[in-house]
């Protein structure tokens, strides 16, 4: 804003050191430093502040008026220089976001390539918070060996808006009953209100999951309840009844080295609400490490990524939304910034993507099912029996996986999912089940859906009895059928010894053998060279319609059952969302009517759509 006229004005009146800093006009008059607060959204207020400050330090009317005049003239430049321009349309926001997403990815690939998969899932989980109709918390734990960059990824989001970071917490801290704190102060230390509508970041969960069984069950019990998104209430002798009810939406991103089998066991009993993401193995050569040592230091590389991350997040939060923040008072009390909430265009979701999510939810339900097996040697069959399995109903998993896909889509500015969003979901599904089961499942896929005991023992380096127990487990989980010795299996029969058993993947899991699944899996963990295909399974349409529903979805749909179609473009799909329709017309078709009457239709040569207002 410092053009020649302005500079000569400052010189004429001996105004020294004029600058705009930290939302203040700062300058010196007659030896006094004046700081005047600028409210970029309120010109009047800024000028009044300036005049009041000038009045305090000088009686020179000409100087005061001159400065007010000059700054008023320069106001658009001041705003332009210091404040990001408001984004007026969804399209502009989306384009900007895609470009920043791509910049971030590029920077990471250049400086820290292995970090990208962490960041991709982090942004997807974070964006779940921004989908308007999601009220079910999502918890994702990154699993990876030490130094596998999972913590670096979480650190990138630390101190960014709408996040809450902690290195350590106890499950009881969600609602505290600490006796050393007065009851009226307990609210200040409770964790639950702090993470509400925020991304909860906890980079080290290994100690939490390594506790003794009793403690672990208690911890998981509380976590599972909190992950219902309905608050948490508890009682103690010391503090009596305490807690929170209502909608307590949050997203949780944690990290741990590994989750033991017993955690999976307890989770499947308590309720499988935790999702995991196992980081890919880093395949670097010695030369790669030498280049790493010779290159930029770690801190500088991370800093470059952090800059791009902040640019991306800032742009994301500039989404041109109009809705008021939820419960502003409480958020203000907790110093929590309201989260951008973006309307979801369900009607634009790719049907195929939804079908795959349902299949993946089915697979996950089976892979993390619970059953007990025991040895029944010298009886017929595979020498192991099993109890009736506990397999979760896939509706909830489908909802959560759908939400994750939505988060992934929204992290790239889309408010609808496409097939490409499924890759991440596949990785999460394969990471969420116990590693042992996934290994066997992968082996099944590798062997075109047929697997014998000896193949398992060889591939997984386990004993035959263990392999047979695993087969019993898979059979019990309803994923495979057993091919007995008495059942003729063609030429393969001669390959097996007397104890050899063979299992085949059930037809309903046939999609996982397909080329499409392989492509979407993006080579995650396994490199399958062979595959089987053309195995059809029954249509999942009913499940798509019936089960992909949020547990308590907030209604975003107008009650009058009208559908809204744009009169001016083909791009806007028919919707029942009145607000979304109006927003579309206002932002995309300036000056046009959202509800044209019959005469408006004639006058503007518009095609009637048979709406009630076309009278």
């Amino acid at each position: 804003m410092k053009d020649t006229n302005f500079i000569s004005f400052l010189n004429r009146y001996n105004i020294e050191g004029f600058q705009i800093s930290d939302n203040n006009f700062i300058f010196k008059i007659h030896g006094h430093v004046i700081r005047s607060i600028i409210d970029f959204s309120n010109f009047d207020k800024s000028i009044v502040n300036l005049r009041d400050n000038l009045d305090k330090h000088t009686e020179d009317i000409e100087l005061k008026e001159g400065l007010v005049f000059e700054i008023s003239k320069k106001w658009p430049a001041v705003v332009e220089e210091c404040l990001p321009r408001p984004i007026n349309s969804y399209i502009e926001w989306k384009e900007g976001l895609v470009s920043r997403y791509s910049d971030l990815k590029q920077t990471i690939k250049e400086h820290f390539p292995e970090l990208w998969e962490t960041v991709e899932i982090e942004l997807a989980v974070k964006s779940i918070l921004n989908v308007k109709d999601i009220s079910l918390p999502f918890a994702c734990i990154l699993l990876g060996p030490p130094s596998s960059s999972k913590t670096v990824g979480i650190e990138l989001l630390r101190d960014t808006p709408n996040t809450f970071y902690t290195d350590s917490f106890s499950a009881k801290s969600f609602v505290s009953h600490n006796t050393s704190v007065p009851r009226d102060k307990l609210q200040e230390i409770d964790l639950l209100p702090k993470i509400k509508n925020n991304l909860f970041l906890s980079p080290e969960l290994s100690p939490t999951f390594s506790k003794k069984d009793e403690e672990l069950i208690e911890t998981l019990g509380i976590l599972i309840r909190v992950l219902d998104g309905k608050g948490y209430e508890s009682d103690s002798g010391a503090q009596g009844h305490r807690g929170y009810t209502g909608e307590y939406m949050f997203a949780w991103l944690g990290a741990a080295v590994e989750i033991s089998r017993r955690v999976h066991k307890h989770l499947s009993t308590l309720g499988p609400k935790l999702y995991f993401y196992r980081l890919s193995k880093i395949s670097k050569t010695e030369d790669d490490y030498i280049r790493l040592l010779q290159g930029e230091n770690f801190g500088d590389r991370v800093q470059k990524i952090k800059v791009k991350m902040v640019e991306y997040l800032e742009w994301f939060d500039r989404y041109p939304w109009e809705d008021p923040p939820n419960e502003p008072k409480q958020e203000e009390e907790n110093k929590i910034k309201s989260v951008v909430k973006i309307e979801w265009a369900k009607e634009r979701d790719e049907k195929k993507a939804l079908e795959y999510i349902v299949k993946l939810a089915g697979l996950l339900a089976h892979l993390r099912g619970t059953l007990q097996t025991w040895e029944t040697r010298d009886t017929q069959g595979i020498d192991y029996a099993y109890t009736i399995p506990i397999i979760e109903e896939r509706g909830r998993a489908a909802t959560q996986l759908y939400n994750l896909a939505r988060g992934h889509a929204l992290s790239q500015g889309r408010n609808f999912i496409i097939i490409e969003d499924i890759s991440l979901v596949i990785k999460v599904v394969l990471s969420t089940a116990s590693i042992e089961r996934v290994k066997v499942f992968d082996l099944l896929l590798e062997r075109w859906g047929r697997l014998s005991t000896s193949q398992i023992t060889k591939a997984l380096s386990i004993s035959k009895p263990t392999a047979r127990r695993t087969m019993a487990e898979f059979k019990g989980l309803g994923m495979v059928s057993m091919v007995g010795e008495s059942e003729d299996d063609g030429n393969d029969q001669q390959l097996f010894d007397n104890a050899e058993k063979m299992m085949t993947l059930k037809p309903e899991f046939g999609w996982f053998l397909s080329e499409e699944f392989k492509r979407l899996r993006e080579g995650y963990e396994l490199n399958l060279e062979h595959y089987a295909s053309n195995i059809s399974i029954e249509s999942s349409e009913i499940l798509v319609e019936g089960e992909l529903k949020e547990k308590t979805p907030p209604s975003t749909i107008n009650n009058d059952n009208s559908t809204y179609e744009c009169y001016y473009c083909e791009d806007f799909p028919s919707t029942m969302d009145k607000t979304g329709y109006q927003r579309h017309v206002i932002s995309i078709h300036p000056g046009k009517l959202a509800y044209p009457s019959k005469s408006d239709l004639t006058k503007n040569k518009l095609k009637p759509k048979g709406k009630t207002w076309e009278t």
């Binding site: 008023s72 109006q582 206002i586 046009k592 009517l593 006058k603």
Partner: protein, 370 residues
Amino acid sequence: MGDIGKKEENKGLGGKNSFSYLNEGNDTDRDEIKNTPYYCPDFKENIQLTLSHFQVPLFPRTISTHISKGRQIPIHDVDEIYHEFEKSKFIDCRISAFPFIEKPVPNFIFIDLDDIHKNISLDRILEITLSNIKKRLGGVPTVLQTGNGYHIYQPIDNSRRFEEMEDFKEFDNPDNRFLRFEKDYLSSGYADKANYPSLKSCLLRVPGTLNSKCLDKGLSNGDSMVKILQRWDDKRPPVGYQIGTFYSYLISEREKDKTRKAEYDNLFRCSKPKEIPWIERLLETPIGDHRKTCLWHILVPYLVNVKRVQESEVYQILGKWLDDCNKERKIDFNTKYTIKSNLKNVKDFLPISKDNLQKEYPDIYKSVGF
């Protein structure tokens, strides 16, 4: 009223019809009365005093009087002014603050303070206003006591119209807006809202003349007379002393207008065409009076902006209604022209609300059968 008041009584001032200004000398010591409301005994002196606030050219200029009923009369010298004022028995005599020329310059601020505020006294408002003028302009203005309140005359030094200044060219009508802004700004918003000064119409009462409103209230000539409470200091603060404040006001108003327009536009564009039952009822009710009012305030905005019917249909609907009205009482205006003119100017105006109709046009309200 002090001694002067008594003197006025002695001079025979005592009734709207019997008043005559005695053009005779007065030996009253000016210092003695400077803190007391006064007027100059020689009436021409009062005219001269008023004219002293103005920069050249002084003439031609317009005046208005009680008998001109507010109409402005062009005059060319002091004698002519005196003559017109005398004809009006010195009642409601005013002189325009700006010359009667093509492009007068806004070099005068007029502030009208009335005693209509409940929470603050008129004297306090005057105090605030004079303090603002001192602080913001460094000015000492003329203050007249008009019987109903105070008039403040603050000349300023300005030789150019705002519309000719580069920085102000982008704004609509900046010269008149300057006069209106200053009256509100310097009075901290207490100035009479009904007073709407412009370069063409900014009429100043002259000391020593009578205020008909006071006479109508039955006050004496002495109490109805416009008197000088404070004379200006003959210093014209430069217009530059307000340029920043005025400019920031224009910027602020423009931004507010943009927001208002966008909000209104969105509201309008997202409203469905609908019918308002009481206006539909009015369309079926022929009336003998207020037909033009109904067209402008109710029917045309309704049909265009609420019901959103086509223009040809508007002519048809209103033509029929006016035909029916004509049977009630003959219409004395060109109906087609009136509808056309209303259609041209209706913009995005909405019809008057039912409540306002009841308050402002009770006759129409009754006609609709509320």
